[in-house]
């Protein structure tokens, strides 16, 4: 185990990049993307079986879950009660009690309901789930979710699937400041520099799906995100310089040699 593992829900991981399985039509590409990303935590969704069109190839069979932590989500749930029901169905379907909790009443921006999320998180944590709630970058809410027993908090960078990057780094900073559980930036990351920025600020991990699935070369982008996450984490551990308002010469200011100016005719 390297010196800097991510500990989440009582397990340790070497990768700080998590990926989803959405938007892939081809399990082969999805498998290659997950391998290239190095992700060890992989999300899936729960949906009703289409009774008029039964027969489907199983996503669960397409990946090696001995090597991956399965993280079912409650995407599509608009209320706390719906999320509780889907979480319990997810546990029954997978045998896994980890849940990425999403309570999202708003379809346009897919922004989470903080009150419903907290209520569902309390119930699920009490029911033995390892709860990872998707939230806005709100420090007060994050502390309440920690107190409710969540294993992590997952503030969004920008709206789901928008690829707009980290739009409110100052708010993320308030969530990171004093966090007692891992902070996983989820949603809206578009390019590896977005992931690097989140890790540089001190986020413990990021989760991406669309940025990989909709890249021209998903496998190449997965590799690039893995590097971005590693760069950001290394920079965070190394400690950034303090920004200054004005320039500060890197070379000594004394002992400057006075050379003839070639622009001036002799």
């Amino acid at each position: 185990m390297p010196a800097d593992p991510l500990t989440l829900g009582g397990r340790t991981f070497t990768s700080r990049l998590m990926t989803g399985t959405g938007k892939y039509t081809d399990f082969g590409v999805m498998r290659e993307v997950i391998a290239a990303s190095g992700a060890q935590i992989v999300t899936v969704a729960i949906r009703r079986v289409e009774l008029n069109a039964p027969g489907h190839s199983g996503l669960l069979d397409a990946l090696n879950w001995d090597a991956l932590q399965l993280l079912p989500n409650t995407a599509g749930c608009r209320t706390a009660d719906e999320a509780l029901r889907v979480a319990r169905l997810a546990r029954a379907a997978t045998g896994v009690s980890w849940i990425k909790l999403e309570v999202i009443p708003d379809a346009r921006y897919l922004l989470p309901d903080p009150v419903g999320t907290l209520r569902a998180a309390e119930a699920l944590a009490a029911d033995g789930f390892t709860v990872l709630p998707y939230v806005q970058a709100d420090a007060v809410l994050a502390r309440a979710l920690e107190a409710a027993g969540c294993a992590a908090v997952m503030p969004l960078a920008s709206p789901i699937g928008s690829g707009r990057g980290l739009r409110a780094p100052e708010l993320l900073r308030t969530v990171l400041d004093g966090a007692r559980v891992p902070v996983v930036v989820d949603a809206g990351l578009g390019v590896p520099s977005d992931a690097a920025q989140a890790l540089e600020l001190g986020a413990d991990a990021v989760l991406v799906n669309t940025a990989l699935a909709e890249a021209r070369d998903p496998v190449g982008m997965a590799r690039a995100f893995a590097l971005g996450v590693q760069a950001g984490r290394a920079a965070f551990l190394a400690g950034r310089m303090a920004p200054r308002a004005h320039a500060s010469p890197s070379s000594p200011v004394s002992g400057v040699v006075a050379l003839p100016d070639p622009e001036v005719p002799v």
């Binding site: 899936v44 969704a45 729960i46 949906r47 009774l51 489907h56 989500n73 169905l89 789901i160």
Partner: protein, 69 residues
């Protein structure tokens, strides 16, 4: 009095006498091993769905895993 019905994945389904959870799944063409099932507030892994009898107004959900983020 209306005929007894179930809600199955949000749609009304007739409850004929003697219908059980396993016969319902078989009627629907669903392989239990690939799904999870809720009957009201009871949740079952597909491989361990009990052959319980069903009652008027039971709410049944049959779900599977798909790709998601």
């Amino acid at each position: 009095m209306s005929a007894p019905t179930l809600s199955v994945n949000g749609e009304l389904h007739p409850l004929r006498p003697g219908l059980t959870l396993l016969t319902l799944l078989r009627d629907l063409g669903v392989d239990p091993a690939r799904v999870a099932v809720a009957v009201n507030n009871d949740f079952y892994p597909g491989a361990r769905v009990p052959d319980r009898s069903l009652e008027d107004h039971d709410v049944i959900e049959i779900v599977r895993i798909i790709g998601g983020g």
